[in-house]
């Protein structure tokens, strides 16, 4: 039919030309490059897949490059000023590597909601990664696990099923409220905690410990599931604040232990060890999902700080010692997403723990440290405003003048570098002097030859040529004759015995 009609219009189309080019027997379509719908879809899919993969490979490469550039920049920025306070700099660097990566990846994931990965390898090995799927990196297994644990915990309780039902219902309802402001979300969760704990209080006849252990589990279950929705939500400027504090801490890299009056002596190996552990713990906070676990990281960090102070000062640490040290640790660690974490804990942690507990105390101190860092000026470091400005702008560093005097290994290396530099500049100067002298010699020589030439010229001019030339030739003639006569005079030579020949003795 079709071919007949097309023939009538004067266009000849062979039946075979209408068929799919793949030869599957179906009709093809020019819009699909002569393929049938089925083959086209396959082909197109393959093409698109290839494109996606190429894009992804490119994105990955770019990211890696950027990461490397950032890392090297970071390293440079850090290594220079931290030499003095960081005695075991290299070791720390490697220890912190994994945590550093967290900070770095943070910069490249558009939404800060994603929990950081454990290391880079997990990032590379992910099979079907695409930038937009980054938010689903945490496998649902995690939340399933939390749910299972929660159920196991509640099983022996009388009203366990009831508690679970309410928590689940509440958690699910929260998902639909994600457009609400962070404060409202926090209010909802806090109200839920309050109501539930009130009810548990009547149920357990006021056994506070029991209520608290249940509330801990409730918090763990709910926040594991809600983490993605409520950590650093888009409705807030948490992320902006994160970047601001991160930048601020980086700008303050030059702050020394002496400026903060930190009573910690990092030359004692045990102390510097505690300092490293404290830094690691405060960085690790970001990798936890449950507020209680985050608080536990802060507490562990604080305990390490106390340990460092106790070894240095040989007495129990007071708040006068603790806060400056914590500030120092935060400056050195530059923990990822610091503000988001603080906000998250404030909003969704069980209030009783935050208000009166030991964890709460350390958390409050962390908030204080952050507030101090934000408002820090020259006065609070016993510096003049001019000095502070110089250090902040990077035009001066407090480490230079101390380089020679301080005795830590880092500064020893620094002073050595300085000595070498001095030596090198000395060498340069000497070389310059040599070159200058050489130039002078050269010009002297030129002058001298000119002078000689002039003298010769003047002499030549003052004496007529004819009288001089014969004398010159005769003079040279006598000398050559004298030279030839040396041998000829030596007549006795012939009477001398022949010179000794070297002989080989059989040995």
């Amino acid at each position: 039919m079709m071919s007949q009609r097309s023939e009538r219009r004067g266009i000849h189309l062979d039946q075979s030309e209408l068929l799919c080019k793949k030869g599957c027997g179906y009709y093809g379509n020019t819009a699909w490059q002569g393929l049938c719908s089925k083959c086209w879809r396959e082909e197109n899919q393959r093409e698109r897949q290839k494109q996606i993969q190429e894009d992804w490979a490119l994105a990955e490469r770019l990211q890696r490059e950027e990461e490397e550039a950032y890392a090297s920049r970071h390293q440079r920025a850090q290594s220079q000023p931290t030499i003095t306070p960081f005695s075991k700099f290299e070791e720390r660097k490697t220890k912190e590597k994994s945590s550093k990566v967290n900070t770095v990846t943070k910069f490249f994931t558009p939404s800060a909601k994603t929990p950081p990965k454990k290391d880079t390898t997990s990032f590379d090995t992910q099979s079907s990664p695409s930038p937009s799927s980054s938010s689903s990196r945490h496998p649902p297994a995690d939340t399933d696990h939390a749910t299972r644990e929660f159920i196991d915990f509640l099983k022996p309780l009388k009203s366990g099923r009831e508690i679970f039902k309410q928590c689940r219902a509440f958690t699910e309802s929260m998902v639909y409220k994600r457009d609400m402001g962070a404060d409202e979300l926090s209010e909802c969760v806090q109200d839920f905690y309050q109501n539930l704990s009130d009810r548990l209080q009547t149920q357990f006849k006021g056994s506070t410990e029991h209520v608290e252990s249940v509330m801990d589990e409730v918090e763990k279950y709910m926040m594991t599931r809600l983490y993605k929705e409520v950590f650093c939500p888009e409705t807030t400027d948490d992320e902006k604040k994160d970047l601001a504090i991160q930048k601020r801490i980086r700008a303050l890299h030059w702050v020394t232990i002496e400026m903060l009056c930190v009573p910690v002596d990092e030359e004692i190996p045990e102390v510097s060890d505690s300092v490293v552990k404290a830094i690691t713990d405060v960085i690790e906070m970001d990798s936890k999902r449950v507020p209680k676990d985050k608080l536990a990281c802060i507490t562990r960090c604080s305990k390490h700080i106390f340990n460092a102070i106790k070894i240095s000062k040989k007495e129990a640490a007071s708040a006068d010692d603790f806060l400056p040290t914590l500030i120092y640790i935060v400056l050195k660690a530059n923990p990822p997403r610091l503000q988001s974490n603080i906000q998250y804990i404030t909003r969704f942690c069980n209030p009783s723990r935050l208000m009166t507990g030991e964890d709460g105390y350390y958390f409050t101190n962390l908030c204080c440290a952050v507030a101090f860092i934000e408002k820090l000026d020259g006065q609070s470091l016993n510096l003049s405003p001019e000095e502070f400005e110089l250090y902040m702008s990077g035009q001066a560093s407090p480490h230079w003048p101390q380089g020679a005097g301080a005795s830590s290994p880092g500064s020893a290396a620094l002073s050595q570098v300085h000595k070498r530099l001095d030596l090198l500049t000395g060498l340069g100067e000497r070389q310059d002097r040599v070159i200058e002298k050489a130039r002078q010699l050269e010009s002297d020589l030129i002058d001298w030859t000119d002078e000689v030439e002039q003298k010769v010229q003047s002499v030549l001019e003052s004496f007529p040529q004819e009288t001089h030339n014969p004398t010159a030739t005769t003079a040279s003639g006598t000398t050559s004759a004298a030279a030839s006569a040396i041998d000829s005079d030596n007549v006795e030579n012939e009477r001398l015995p022949p010179p000794l020949q070297p002989q080989v003795f059989a040995g």
């Binding site: 099983k155 009388k158 009203s159 109200d191 839920f192 129990a316 006068d320 009166t356 507030a371």
Partner: protein
């Protein structure tokens, strides 16, 4: 929940947060270490730190958990005060009787606390180091009249001689309990109001009543 005001042996446990404020070197840490560990300048202090300490008390049959928060006293940390003292039930303001300046600092703290927290916080002004009475630079009359004028109690202590510290904390606890009880009574009168305002969340309130009857999970 048992209301603390009426029942003689109610099972409610009070939890109080007390902040220690005062300039560095006035002996805040010594004071609290003496109270919680009964030690002074001891090399064998068991606690790792002396900045957060707790004490369990039993006052007229009621359990009290006291959490004592030390604060950094250096001048440059003064601005951080509000972060420390928010939600605290009591504040202990320590000065050194040999140091006029430290008393001036206490006055500043009192002014700030009253402005930020009003009258719901119990204030104690403490003149420490009375073992150094011969070097006294803050007169007893001046300190006590000032304390009275701002609605605070004044105490004289010596961490070194262990004088007046037990009384200070006991007194403070009693006052905080009174404040808490007064607050509870107030809440009790307006219970319906506060309850309804807190009911913004969906908690299925009729189901718990069914639970005990059914006892679905009772056997485990």
């Amino acid at each position: 929940m048992a209301a603390g005001g009426t029942g003689g042996n109610s099972n409610k446990t009070y939890s109080f947060k007390v902040v220690l404020l005062g300039e560095g070197c006035v002996g805040k840490t010594s004071l609290v270490l003496r109270y919680c560990e009964n030690k002074f300048n001891d090399k064998h202090i068991t606690t790792l730190q002396a900045s957060f300490l707790t004490k369990k008390l039993n006052i007229t049959g009621k359990r009290v958990n006291l959490a004592i928060w030390d604060t950094a006293g250096q001048e440059r940390f003064h601005a951080l005060g509000p972060i420390y003292y928010r939600d605290s039930n009591g504040a202990i303001l320590v000065y050194d009787i040999t140091d006029e300046d430290s008393f001036q600092k206490v006055k500043n703290w009192v002014k700030e606390l009253r402005k930020m927290l009003g009258n719901e916080i119990c204030l104690c002004i403490v003149g420490n180091k009375i073992d150094l009475d011969k070097d006294r630079h803050v007169s007893v009359e001046e300190a006590e009249s000032y304390a009275e004028s701002v609605g605070a109690k004044h105490y004289h202590t010596s961490a070194k001689l262990n004088k007046g510290i037990e009384e200070l904390f006991l007194d403070l606890c009693k006052r905080m309990m009174e404040t808490a009880q007064a607050e509870e009574r107030l809440k009790g009168n307006g219970a319906s109001q506060s309850a309804s305002s807190r009911r913004g969340v969906q908690i299925v309130d009729d189901e718990p009543q069914a639970t005990p009857a059914g006892g679905c999970c009772s056997s485990g």
